[in-house]
Symmetry: C2
Subunit: 364 residues, 2 copies
């Protein structure tokens, strides 16, 4: 699963996935919890965290042992709490709880900004995302992404809080608690905060705490989604009507996913398939291939892009008929995005091209 | 149509749209051609365009009067040719032709890069897009976008070629000819080159010229699509499986669009509707509203975002039942993107939230 660490914006789904697997691992190896689970880590930077952060620690330290990440700025507490949560998650669900509410914070709230990093490397970030991160006092994110941040950003932050494995719910709550404690907080993920990512979870948790988006001056800074980063690597596979579907049934049941795949494949949409494969979801991948082949020709081009724009990037254009056998290869995992062509898509000079229809209107 | 000038990456569709309207205008007013149609304009910058460009002028000057954009670096020729094309397009189709082929160019080909600008403003651009534009010798694009480029980029370019109205086919051919003539060319559009944009057209025209993508070192630099820019303005409307559909039937017939709308609305996808309305497509908009209301509750939240992130931006969250009457208002035009919620989407604190399903797995 280490390859999952180079994931796209399906981070949310993947962390949820990881969370349960993490729990499973824990069930197998009792000593495994401390080692494998999301030990939240707060790396204090040059600047002092300031009074607000301290007040957060105070207001939440009482129950910081019992839940993930509700204690702001405390490495040890976060570690202990993250671990306890992960250790407890021995099946599909977890017992992560949102403990603190807006009532627990006496400071004037700071701000919460969900920032999309795009493909992950600094050059894939928008200038606006960079500015938002430079302005943030606390940057909260999955370790893989905080490690991708340029030094200028981590240096400018009072604190960078990251969790290496499980816990997007606790990490998101941590970010909200830090904002409620008076800090300007950026919560980051690759891709775009609206594509299988944390913008929604942040609002849901804020609401559950009795906070409001306005109170947190909640903002979203969009980023380049994985579908676009991957499409760019193989030409022009998605220039017409397109569907994005995730094969993770952790948060959406499989019958719904299958029904959506049938509808999309029937209607000539190009299809971006997120989270196509994991050890626990071999069947979903096989079912997806089966459904696509039911509606599309076996020679339909499919772009397979793993870790778009990363050092370990792999890009291949295959035929739909070849897809099933790729499920067990390291080309297809949670970090891979599949770009399925429609009836008109063709391969030319190692690029995938889905015509827009100009050829029917113009003479060229 | 002036509002169309602040369009998102549906540029391709819109230019096609404009083209035909431009032709129609021309049919009404014979003198209108020169005034309203795509008079390609090449603004020479400080640096000389170089030998390659000159050679292109030579190799294509013979028939530069008779077709759009095949003459590289020649303002007058481009102007004349663009006009002649637009004047000729008096109905839905145009007679734009790709005249020159790879054989017409004796220079070593330069490069062609399709660059997505994102929402349009410099801060919405990725660092990679900025670098690609700074590296380009020629920047080719729709006037609205070339005018949005930071001075450092237009100053660094040998030449900026833009067409103010009709002609994405001729503009794209112009870009390819300039690349075949030995220039490093960037063709720009807002949003992402893979979302209703020019990445595909560039490859189609390159092929029709007997060129290859490899010969042109063709590359795509992704950008933030309008769906993501607009979603960010209203919270988290698209965090689950999503469909993007364009209501322009210029390149996709209406029965296909309707069938796709039915399928998407039936399957609980959130839906990003591009190019929702234009004078010539009132019916498409009405039909779309009708189909959505057939499958979704009248109180389904719909985000209506016009000119996301622009000075004239307008953002509203309405109920699906209100959508039909908005068709004739200036809130909905070709630059508007509609974000239609699914069955679970709700409005909270002036944000649209589409739950991912965490609430079914976590206690918060």
């Amino acid at each position: 699963m280490s390859t999952d660490d180079t994931t796209d914006e399906s981070t949310a789904t993947e962390n949820a996935e990881r969370e349960s697997e993490c729990g499973a691992a824990d069930a197998e190896a009792t000593a495994g919890t401390e080692r494998t689970c999301g030990a939240g880590e707060a790396r204090s930077a040059s600047k002092a965290s300031g009074e607000a952060a301290s007040s957060a620690s105070e207001t939440t330290s009482d129950d910081s042992e019992s839940k993930c990440g509700a204690s702001a700025g405390s490495s040890s507490a976060s570690t202990g709490s993250s671990s306890s949560t992960c250790g407890a998650s021995t099946d599909e669900t977890t017992d992560e709880k949102v403990g603190s509410t807006v009532e627990d914070f006496d400071a004037d709230p700071g701000s919460l900004t969900a920032v999309g990093l795009g493909p992950g490397q600094p050059e894939g970030m928008t200038a606006r995302a960079r500015e938002a991160l430079l302005d943030a006092e606390h940057v909260v994110g999955y370790t893989t992404y905080t490690e991708l941040l340029p030094d200028e950003i981590t240096a400018a932050a009072d604190e960078v809080y990251d969790t290496p494995m499980c816990g997007e719910v606790s990490r998101t709550e941590e970010a909200i608690d830090r904002a409620l404690a008076g800090n300007d907080v950026a919560i980051i993920g690759s891709g775009d905060p609206n594509v299988y990512a944390l913008a929604g979870l942040a609002l849901e948790i804020a609401e559950s705490k009795g906070a409001t988006a306005s109170m947190l001056d909640f903002d979203v800074v969009p980023g380049v989604p994985a579908a676009q980063s991957c499409a760019a690597r193989i030409g022009a596979p998605l220039v017409n009507d397109t569907v994005s579907i995730s094969l993770s049934d952790h948060l959406t049941d499989m019958p719904t996913i299958e029904s959506r795949l049938h509808a999309a494949a029937k209607e000539g949409f190009t299809i971006a398939v997120y989270n196509p494969w994991s050890r626990k979801r071999r069947d979903n991948y096989e079912k997806c291939c089966e459904i696509l082949l039911e509606h599309r020709a076996p020679d339909t081009p499919v772009g397979v892009v793993r870790g778009a724009g990363r050092e370990d990037e792999r890009v291949e254009i295959v035929e739909l008929r070849e897809l099933p056998e790729l499920g067990e290869t390291d080309l297809v995992d949670m970090t891979t995005t599949l770009l399925v062509g429609n009836e008109d898509t063709y391969v030319w000079d190692e690029r995938m091209v889905t015509p827009r229809g100009y050829e029917s209107k113009y003479d060229y």
